[in-house]
Symmetry: C2
Subunit: 162 residues, 2 copies
């Protein structure tokens, strides 16, 4: 399988959205995807893009994608965050994920950042082993915290007036 | 203690940098802070600020700070990330952290995002309990992964040509 990695175009967002939904279904949370294909087009390709995306292409098929954006570390300065790296089930085990990760690290080096960060499920040992083999540190004592839309509204209602 | 929260000014970065270093010393990693006061000024107050910062002020003293920037969720769309929330040791237990967090959630609501996210040490039960009491979900099965400057260079040297 001949794979090439290139920056995503606006027209790729249909396939990118399909990959995002595929992953959410695999994680048994298909209804959690509130982002639409149109929103991806707007958010990624407007005046101030909110993310950059790379796609892995084989022939005319998009077999994978990596989506990144800048973050800021108060210790290291500007950083690049890898939000999603998704490979279609049919294309797994063929180096697509590795090629996408390499493209992301190149993007980070070109941007001059001193850190690339992402998140991993702590039971996903194959992924953790892969990342560690490539030099990444998995900070097992740091957890992710999220307050979602309903939580934001409830928080302000209860605490803002105090 | 009368505390007010306001957006940080460029001139506050001296105090903000002091708070960042205080936290790093508390976490026994003082040498990990590579960001300088000048870099905070440039990165936070240039043409395209890389972060927004709020400070907690008592009299003419800065007693705490919260530093945030946008992220992007492929499920929820634009999000706000809380990178640091720091309160000086002398001012703890007086509601400063809570007031800063409330300001951050207000900032997120004003920005129209559907998620606020941050990270917490998994053994920091008081912090976790506080966040959960305010409606946040602590995703204990997600870990943080980081590839730092030396890792980026080593990665590209070893894998980019494959």
């Amino acid at each position: 399988m001949e794979i090439s990695i290139r920056p995503a175009r606006e027209a790729d967002m249909k396939d990118v959205h399909r990959l995002i939904r595929e992953l959410a279904e695999f994680e048994r949370e298909p209804e959690a995807v509130e982002v639409t294909e149109d929103q991806l087009r707007e958010d990624g390709f407007g005046q101030n893009p909110k993310f950059q995306c790379f796609v892995a292409v084989s022939g005319d098929r998009i077999e994978g994608m990596a989506l990144v954006y800048p973050r800021y570390s108060t210790w290291k300065g500007p950083a690049i965050h890898l939000e999603d790296l998704i490979v279609t089930e049919a294309a797994r085990g063929k180096g697509v994920g590795s090629a996408l990760l390499t493209r992301v690290i190149r993007h980070a080096a070109d941007a001059g950042v001193r850190r690339v960060c992402w998140e991993v499920l702590d039971w996903n040992e194959p992924a953790i082993g892969f990342y560690e083999s490539r030099g990444a540190r998995v900070l097992r004592d740091w957890d992710v915290v999220q307050l979602d839309a309903a939580g934001i509204a409830a928080y302000l209602k209860e605490y803002e007036s105090i």
